[in-house]
């Protein structure tokens, strides 16, 4: 019985084992299907005659949001806009791309473009992390794909990119520079900016480095409240990644932004209602304790000094006096310093230099302010004397003149050990102090 069974099994095996038919699940080979898929993606991307709106969220979708406009052709070339800065939002830049089979069908932007600005490991380019940038990507794999929507995922940092097919009207608006409308807010030169919606007042602040839009307002009992959200620019407006809700007012973005140079006013609409943003000198609530707190902090922490790398920002120009070009002998500019109680009864304000070998900091000259006057929620500086021979012209002299401006300075604490010192005169000059 056992033998018969074995014999039967062997015969069965003999009969069945050699079905030499390959019966693949798919009709075509993996390579052929891949080729078809790559060709289909290529056709889809370059076939969109009005291009694609792109929305990128960096760092696996946890980071900042950036908008783009792409126009692909079938010769591996792409032209692009991005909402990164006023130039990139209005000036098309051409670069190269290719669709390639990596582990998945992937879209690579393979020469430098506005997209790479976010990935650049040089923090001077994008204000990101040195050596890593803003944790963005320029190599993406195709995640899902519909006729008018393509989802892509970055291969290094997992950035999420969504392409939506642009319409003719959108393409026209991009060509007209409408992506830059949100950047009109930088045309207002004052540090503090006031949003007026009906009878409600908000101080607004846009921080391009951290990509945060900040609302400050007074609640019913007169206390200052703040709310910050990520943002990105769209055609003619701004979108907030988290809508701002205050009572019955919900602001998910600004639309129809226009700039009127004569009145230095931004007109916009919120949910269809007209609103304005204008420059102001005095914020809704002045932090009256800040100037003294700033001054005391340096004294209480080793009687050290506050430094500013980039000097004064004046009328929309960073380092307006070009203090970073200052030299003293063979030593080069290192930072501006403010040292409270440098000697009993007087402070020190001076550019600090670095010697040629880069081994020593040098104090060549300085001005000695009296202990500041802290009345009125401001700090006002007056000169008692000088150290060394203080130059009478050039960046150092201009900085000194501005410091002793009789209108004084408001202080805004922006971090545990960072303050912005803002002119109380016209609100258009400020300097950032770091400890």
């Amino acid at each position: 019985m056992k033998r018969i069974l074995i014999a039967f099994l062997v015969v069965a095996a003999a009969l069945s084992s050699c079905t030499k038919e390959d019966d693949p699940v798919f009709e075509k080979s993996a390579d052929e299907r891949l080729q078809e898929k790559l060709a289909a993606y290529q056709a889809q991307l370059s076939g969109a005659q009005n291009g694609w709106n792109g929305l990128l969220v960096t760092d696996s979708g946890r980071g900042s949001t950036h908008s783009f406009y792409f126009k692909f052709n079938d010769q591996n070339r792409v032209t692009m806009l991005s909402d990164f800065d006023p130039v990139s939002a209005a000036t098309f830049k051409e670069s190269s791309y290719r669709i390639k089979a990596l582990q998945q069908p992937s879209l690579l932007f393979d020469t430098y473009s506005y997209l790479h600005v976010l990935s650049d490991p040089d923090d001077a380019v994008n204000g990101g992390i040195t050596g890593a940038g803003l944790l963005s990507d320029f190599e993406f794999y195709f995640d899902s794909d519909l006729q008018d929507t393509i989802k892509l995922v970055g291969r290094i940092n997992g950035s999420k990119m969504t392409f939506t097919r642009a319409t003719q009207a959108e393409a026209d608006a991009y060509n007209a520079g409408q992506l830059a409308a949100g950047l009109y807010i930088n045309n207002i030169l004052t540090y503090f900016k006031r949003l007026t919606v009906g009878s409600q007042l908000y101080d607004v602040n846009i921080d391009p480095i951290s990509r945060q839009f900040i609302f400050s307002w007074l609640d019913g009992s007169g206390n200052l409240q703040t709310f910050s959200t990520g943002y990105y620019f769209v055609l003619g407006g701004i979108v907030f990644t988290t809508p701002f809700v205050n009572g019955s007012l919900t602001i998910s973005g600004f639309n129809n932004i226009t700039w009127t140079p004569a009145t230095e006013t931004i007109n916009l609409t919120i949910n269809g209602t007209a609103a304005t943003i204008t420059g102001i000198v005095v914020p809704l609530k002045v932090d009256t304790g800040a100037p003294k707190r700033w001054w005391d902090y340096a004294i209480n922490n080793g009687n050290s000094f506050w430094i500013s790398q980039r000097g004064f920002h004046v009328n929309g120009v960073d380092d307006a006096f070009n203090i970073q070009s200052l030299t003293s002998g063979t030593s080069t500019y290192y930072f501006l310093a403010y040292n409270p109680e440098f000697e009993p009864g007087n402070d020190l304000f001076a550019p600090i230099f670095l010697n040629a070998a880069g081994t020593q900091i040098v104090l060549a000259y300085g001005t000695a302010p009296d202990t500041p006057n802290f009345s009125g929620g401001k700090a006002t500086f007056t000169q008692l004397g000088t150290y060394g021979t203080y130059p009478s012209t050039g960046p150092a002299a201009q900085s000194r003149t501005l410091l002793y401006n009789t209108s004084g300075w408001y202080f805004v604490q922006t971090g545990a050990t960072t303050y912005d010192m803002v002119s109380a005169g016209n609100g258009k000059s400020w300097i950032t102090w770091e400890f």
């Binding site: 014999a7 030499k20 390579d31 591996n76 020469t111 990935s119 490991p121 040089d122 050596g131 290094i156």
Partner: protein, 304 residues
């Protein structure tokens, strides 16, 4: 019974022999995507590289992003297209031409590195330093920081850019010196006087301390091969006058912790210079001083 066994055995054998002779065709192998490298419609940059580097010198330059050519642990970006030709053109003038003029095109084709990979950003290291160039196996050179490359006549050129350009030439000449050393070995006299001073802990030796021991740069103290490459490359890019000044600047009193006097340090550098000159003459029949003059003049003309 025995017959059944035999039948079974025979059947088994037949199965073994016949069963697995499936003719699996390889399929259409020439249809594998990307096999043979990436292709794209050739643009003006591609044509320039082909005409200027590939045809005359058999050198390729990759400017489009290819992660597989680059370290995976670094965040890098591809170069701006408008920097590619200026960088490669300056390399042609400052590195290729002096060698070809001095030693002939055949020598250059035989020995030069063949693959250049171009990167837009610098490579940021965890210790805060920047890498501007690396080389692998004498064949491939990666050049970084192209997006900040500016020479005389380019918008935004400032004196501080000089250093970056000089370093670019230094990297290439450094790697090329390694290749020459690997092709015909440098005589041992070169490193004899410094043999006991080489240290793998070179990052903790200051450039001045290295110079005081008779090394042309900080990196030169890391080992005899790099001492060679550093000596050859820095002398080429900075010129003979610079080297003389450098040697004459060694004027400390007494001895270093290693017991070196200023006179000994000077003597070591002079002896290394002499070995470089005699090696180039004997191994390659090249007049090093003439090459140095051409090289320095070519680089200066790009910068000043």
């Amino acid at each position: 019974m025995k017959r059944i066994k035999i039948i079974i055995t025979a059947l088994s054998l037949a199965i073994l022999i016949s069963s697995c002779q499936k003719d699996d065709e390889l399929g259409n192998v020439d249809n594998i995507p990307g096999l043979g490298g990436d292709t794209w419609p050739q643009g003006p940059i591609d044509k320039w590289i082909l005409d200027t580097l590939t045809v005359p010198y058999n050198i390729s330059a990759k400017y489009k992003w290819d992660q597989s050519e680059l370290p995976l642990n670094k965040i890098l970006v591809p170069p701006q297209e408008d920097k590619v030709i200026p960088v490669l053109s300056s390399i042609t003038k400052g590195w290729i031409k002096p060698y070809v003029d001095e030693a002939g095109v055949l020598f250059f084709k035989n020995t030069s590195p063949k693959f250049f990979t171009l990167v837009g950003s610098a490579s940021f290291n965890s210790d805060g330093s920047l890498t501007l160039g690396t080389a692998e196996g004498g064949r491939k050179v990666i050049l970084y920081d192209l997006n900040n490359f500016r020479i005389k006549g380019m918008p935004g050129y400032v004196a501080a850019d000089t250093d970056r350009v000089i370093r670019q030439f230094w990297v290439i000449n450094h790697e090329y010196a390694h290749i020459l050393d690997m092709t015909i070995k440098v005589p041992v006299e070169f490193s004899e006087s410094s043999a006991s001073l080489y240290t793998s802990d070179w990052t903790n030796v200051s450039p001045q301390d290295a110079l005081n021991e008779g090394f042309i740069s900080q990196y030169a103290i890391s080992g005899k091969e790099d001492d060679w490459a550093e000596t050859v490359s820095w002398m080429l890019v900075n010129g003979r006058g610079w080297f003389d000044n450098l040697v004459n600047s060694i004027n400390y009193l007494g001895t270093t912790p290693n017991g070196t006097t200023a006179a000994e340090a000077k003597e070591r550098l002079r002896q290394k210079e002499a070995t470089v000159v005699s090696y180039f003459k004997q191994a390659w029949n090249i007049d090093y001083y003439s090459l140095q003059t051409r090289s320095r003049a070519a680089i200066s003309s790009l910068l000043y």
